[in-house]
Symmetry: C2
Subunit: 312 residues, 2 copies
């Protein structure tokens, strides 16, 4: 029997899961807030892994999905923007010294791509592009059955493609990135701007607007909501045409909260993709699938990583 | 003794080279116009390979660099825009039946990337990005010691990244691609537009302007020429920041005629790259080198391909 522990580090929540044998259904998932008066995030992470530890079995390996640029070769968190003090954190070394088992790190969007490719919507594909459109835009790429990592492990940041050099500011501080135009955050910002400029909508007067509310308003025929999702889908489609030229994948998997807006997002996305691709050969045999996993994708993707690296 | 023949197909010229043993210096290079009243381009290609054939040695393999989208797995030229009738041409099958030796095809920019990586400026790098800025913008990417091909072999078309959705029309028919903004063709078009709108320059009144003339004018302090190269370098730099986020290479190799403009191009390129990259970690340990090879890069890159596929 082989036991693996994976951890998904979020800005608000830490989650640990324990898997045995070949199952992708965890025996147990434990959650705790990332930040609290009770210890640093690192202390809390170590405590959480201890809680997930099996009573009477050895652990084969620990895998950690990190919310930010990570060097998977060196096992270093380069930066986790939502976790104060996590810069150049040698997390693999710390956890290996503490738990005495092999530890592997990966960027959370890369882990999600790995999860969808190995166990989810991308199973069987050799060249896969994974995009998750939620608060930000995360992504990961499988090139000929390998996760694209780059020289330091910083590759696959497709959300930070410049789509409009003078466009709105991105979470990363740069301008006009895909994430700044088509993420959930960008969607909400645009709707608020439109409302502030006097556009009428059933969303007028709402204090806090969510992505779900925008989708519901679109379903009820609200023109502003429909236009907001269309705008988002169009930018993703334009960028996706560039990604097809760059990667020529056989499969694109789209996940994240915004992707649950269904055809309000997907139809303009497909239309923009078709209009912007330079040769129809890129679309022949191309599949576009919704992600299979939800929030658990980081945990299960990290499981794929450590099962590969440290097989039972 | 192993003999390899490689052919570089251009819109105006066909070139064939014969290499022996481990040398990257050809024993012979033969050239002929691609189009003539004397036979179709395919007839002329077959005749040229026959001319390059050694008198008394067997040939290990033939490699062909194709100027357009090519399926290297199936050995099919999907489209060669500058050669009438070359659509869905099963070139590998035709040449293998004619010459009775293994044949491999590759897109010419991919072959160039392979050449620079194996024998040129990129030697020793594991993650390399190759850009050639000349009439168009060609490119190829090495990901962990393998050429990026994609599901059908159409990957690596970095020149067809959308940099400005409403931008000028590209050779491929789409709008605002990097190639439409920063290729030699785009450079000349922009200079002509500026001259037509009344901007004064030492280039005014010239009937035909070349890239070399623009570089020379820049060297003599001509402001329009300096600005044209700055504009070109800036767009390449903005796109390169996106490519770093996508691929995180350790080395970027830049070739092509426009790249010979030196610092007039490279300084704004480096400045735009630094300003647009989202995390300095992408620039740490990144090298940017000029290409080592000139026009022979397609021939020598195709040699790298067939030596790998069909070793002696």
């Amino acid at each position: 029997m082989a036991t693996y522990i994976t951890v998904d580090i979020g800005g608000t929540q830490l989650r640990a899961a324990r898997y045995t044998n070949d199952s992708i259904t965890p025996d147990e998932v434990i959650r705790t807030p990332t930040q609290s008066e009770d210890g640093t995030p690192l202390d809390r992470l170590i405590h959480l892994i201890g809680q997930a530890w099996p009573a009477d079995e050895p652990v084969q390996a620990i895998g950690v999905a990190v919310p930010g640029p990570t060097d998977p070769y060196q096992g270093i968190v380069i930066e986790a923007p939502n976790i104060p003090g996590w810069n150049d954190l040698h997390l693999r070394e710390i956890l290996e010294q503490r738990f005495r088992v092999p530890v592997a790190l990966g960027n959370d969007a890369n882990m999600a791509a790995l999860g969808e490719w190995r166990y989810g919507a991308g199973s069987g594909s050799h060249d896969l592009l994974y995009l998750t459109v939620s608060t930000g835009i995360g992504s990961g790429v499988i090139v000929r059955d390998r996760l694209l990592l780059g020289a330091r492990g910083l590759a696959g940041e497709l959300g930070h493609l410049t789509v409009m050099p003078d466009g709105p500011i991105c979470g990363c501080g740069q301008h006009g990135h895909l994430e700044a135009l088509a993420s959930g955050t960008a969607l909400l910002r645009w709707v608020k701007e439109q409302l502030a400029s006097g556009v009428t909508s059933t969303l007028s007067g709402e204090e806090h607007i969510s992505g779900l509310q925008i989708t519901q308003a679109a379903q009820q025929g609200d023109l502003l909501a429909i236009k907001a999702l269309e705008r988002c889908g169009t930018y993703v489609g334009i960028a996706l045409a560039s990604f097809l030229h760059i990667f020529n994948p056989s499969l694109v998997v789209i996940g994240g909260g915004v992707s649950r807006s269904g055809d309000f997002l997907m139809e303009p996305l497909r239309f923009a993709l078709k209009s912007h691709v330079m040769n129809q050969a890129y679309l022949e045999d191309l599949q576009i699938y919704p992600a299979l996993f939800g929030d658990e994708v980081g945990l299960v993707g990290t499981l794929a990583l450590i099962r590969d690296l440290y097989p039972a």
